[in-house]
Amino acid sequence: MPAPPIRVGLFVTCLVDLFRPSVGFAAVKLLEAAGCNVEVPASQTCCGQPAYNSGDKADTKAIARQVLDAFEGFDYVVVPSGSCGGMIKRHYPDLFADDPALHQRAQHLAKRTYELVSFLADVLKLERVEARYDGLATYHDSCSGLRELGVKEQPRRLLRSVAGLRLAELPGAEICCGFGGTFCIKYPEISDRMVADKAADIAATGADTLLAGDLGCLLNMAGKLSRLGKDVRVRHVAEVLADMTEATPPIGAGPAERR
């Protein structure tokens, strides 16, 4: 008898929901192709990180409790973002440290929660994808995925299996792009300089495509690259891995600039 399919709850993230549903559908496609049964609980909104990093613990807890309830029964919870994934996996248990019952639930959820690409590579042991992308791509390591969840080699490994895609390493790939969630709202001038430095590093690689695993960072870098007139296509890594780049223009590009 075949093993029952893995039940995965997709935590879409607020930015993907609002800005780029393609990333959510790419995640669904990748997970289904790997044999998972994907569900998207309707009662999810956001992971609560903006409130958490603003010192608003009460609101963070209210939002986090919603996530605990919404993702109760799944084998795994998968998030196409290292930042939101890190929030659930690393910070939810801390958040409920003073409430034993909720703390236990938060720990249980944390154990089952994974960032999308590391879930594919580390848990499902996926070694290659069926996808084609013609271009020279560079990859930016988003901070939370890298330092909170250890996402580093997994996306590069899977990207190397994409037909037609060549990878150029980005110097300073581990340095923050300056997005920082609420940081870019509170200190826009500093944030802008940081992303200018990042854009210069990206341009210096000669890559025609920039990939990363977090939409916040991608919006920031895409916005800077387009303002500077740099001809770099920016996409979430899941779009490339899922072979879904034909359907949607790159981030920040108009319909005419499709590919």
Binding site: S54, G55, D56, I175, F183, I185, D192, K224, R227, E257
Partner: protein, 474 residues
């Protein structure tokens, strides 16, 4: 010094437009991190050493009273004295009283951040004692009437052309046509000038990287040897230290020294590691006439037992700021007080108050690079978040920001309302923005769109598309 941390944004704005500073920061970015990484690569047990160092410091902080008393007993047993100072004022007065008793006109100083914290130079000058900085970086900023922009490289904000200009202005008895283009020439000139000052000094003041309880010794590490001359040629050696610098044994000291230089400059060991134990004994050929250790508390003991206790593990290596993308963008002076970068963002609100320094723990992207390189594994982002919690509780952040956050949280904790709002917002913004794919300006996002575009949403929210897909699915 008067803190200007409240003006962080304005300070940062200035820093972004300062070409020399930006050039200097560029050199830092390409220097420190690479050298540290290379030093770690040569020491496979670094991670284990880090754990050991952290455990050691945690043990000390749990037993701080015991080790401080042991240290004091051993200083006294070797003929020295320990002075306990609660506040910067008490520490300043203690130092001045020693200088006055010895009729000191000039004091030479090794690098000490505690002296910066208590603004010692200004105080001594006001009271007729001339302080002379002997660390090259400190000397440069002293003659420029500036303060340190980095805890181990005080003049990091300057390029060598600025240093040359300052030397020409200050060393007026030297040949005005001399060449001062290269760093070694600048170092040689400073050396020659400072040599005279060492010989003329009555009292030498240094900091302490560590204080060893079992021997009553204080330790400094330098790369210039200036500390040794500062403390051995004078009537008295005054050591300025903060409470958390104490370690139990010489063995423990070696553990921390192995972490310190690698984390700071990427050296295996600093060029000079100097242990000072008591005043000169009759059989010694040199050494200070008196040996004083001035311990400053200044709010540190109140951090024990709080969520900020871990900060007291800090050994002041500077790795957090060397790797901080915000520090690398705005430099140390933007932080507006003695301690910049991530460690300053945690410590400064403790020492000068969160009302003054509230910006600092907010001016972080929480990229986590500081914590990842900290040899003492201090959870710096987590502690910055603790400050943000306190600020939020006390309503110190901007009212519009707080109200927007509360409004967003209200909607985000009501899923049906949230789904309706995002469905509408993505349609609206998508409809307006789709033709170009991005916005050059957006109401309420002027900070963002001033220097970059805002990519436009695709036009439908994921949740609404998913609901449709479910409905039409067979």
């Amino acid at each position: 010094m008067q803190p200007t941390s409240h003006a962080f944004k304005a300070n940062a704005h200035q820093a972004l437009g300062n070409a020399n500073l930006q050039k200097a920061l560029g050199l830092m970015r390409s220097g420190f991190p690479g050298r540290r990484a290379a030093a770690l690569a040569r020491l496979p047990e670094f991670e284990a050493l880090r754990e050991q160092g952290k455990a050691l410091k945690d043990h000390v902080l749990e037993n701080l009273d015991f080790y401080l008393e042991t240290f004091e007993q051993n200083v006294i047993a070797r003929g020295g004295q320990v002075h306990w100072c609660r506040t910067p004022q008490e520490a300043r007065e203690t130092v001045l009283a020693i200088c006055r008793r010895l009729d000191a006109k000039t004091v030479t100083k090794g690098k000490t951040m505690i002296a910066e914290e208590i603004a010692l130079n200004d105080y001594l000058e006001q009271h007729g004692v001339t302080p002379v900085e002997t660390d090259l970086g400190e000397y440069i900023i002293q003659i420029r009437k500036e303060y340190p922009s980095h805890i181990i490289a005080p003049a990091l904000h300057l390029v060598k052309e600025q240093v040359a200009e300052s030397f020409r202005r200050t060393h007026r008895d030297l040949d005005p046509d001399r060449t001062l283009e290269e760093a070694p020439t600048l170092v040689a000139e400073a050396r020659a000038v400072l040599r005279q000052k060492f010989l003329a000094a009555d009292v030498g003041i240094t900091g302490a990287n560590f204080c060893v309880a079992e021997t009553g010794s204080t330790i400094i590490v330098t790369n210039e040897g200036n500390g040794d001359l500062t403390q051995t040629l004078t009537k008295a050696h005054i050591v300025l230290a903060s409470l958390e610098k104490v370690v139990p044994t010489l063995e423990d000291l070696s553990t921390l020294l192995r972490l310190l230089a690698r984390s700071a400059t990427g050296q295996e060991f600093s060029t000079y590691t100097t242990l000072s134990t008591g005043p000169r004994r009759p059989e010694d050929t040199d050494g200070p006439g008196e040996f004083h250790v001035v311990f400053l508390d200044n709010g540190r003991s109140a951090m024990l037992g709080t969520e900020f206790q871990d900060m007291l593990r800090c050994i002041r290596c500077g790795a957090c700021m060397n790797h901080c993308p915000v520090y690398a963008t705005v430099g140390g002076h933007a932080y507006g007080w003695v301690y910049p970068g991530p460690m300053g963002a945690v410590l400064t609100p403790t020492l000068v108050g969160v009302d003054e320094a509230g910006h600092l723990p907010n001016a972080s992207t929480f990229c986590g690079r500081c914590e990842s390189v900290c040899p003492m594994k201090i959870p710096l982002p987590k502690m910055m978040r603790h400050w943000r919690e306190r600020e939020f509780e006390r309503r110190l952040s901007a009212a519009t920001y707080r109200y927007s956050l509360r409004l967003w949280a209200f909607v985000a904790s009501r899923p049906p309302l949230y789904r309706a709002a995002t469905a509408l917002a993505s349609r609206l913004l998508g409809w307006i923005g789709r033709p170009r794919g991005r916005f050059r300006s957006l109401p309420l996002a002027g900070g963002w769109t001033q220097g970059r575009d805002m990519p436009a949403p695709e036009g439908r929210s994921f949740m609404s598309l998913w609901a449709e897909r479910r409905k039409t699915a067979p």
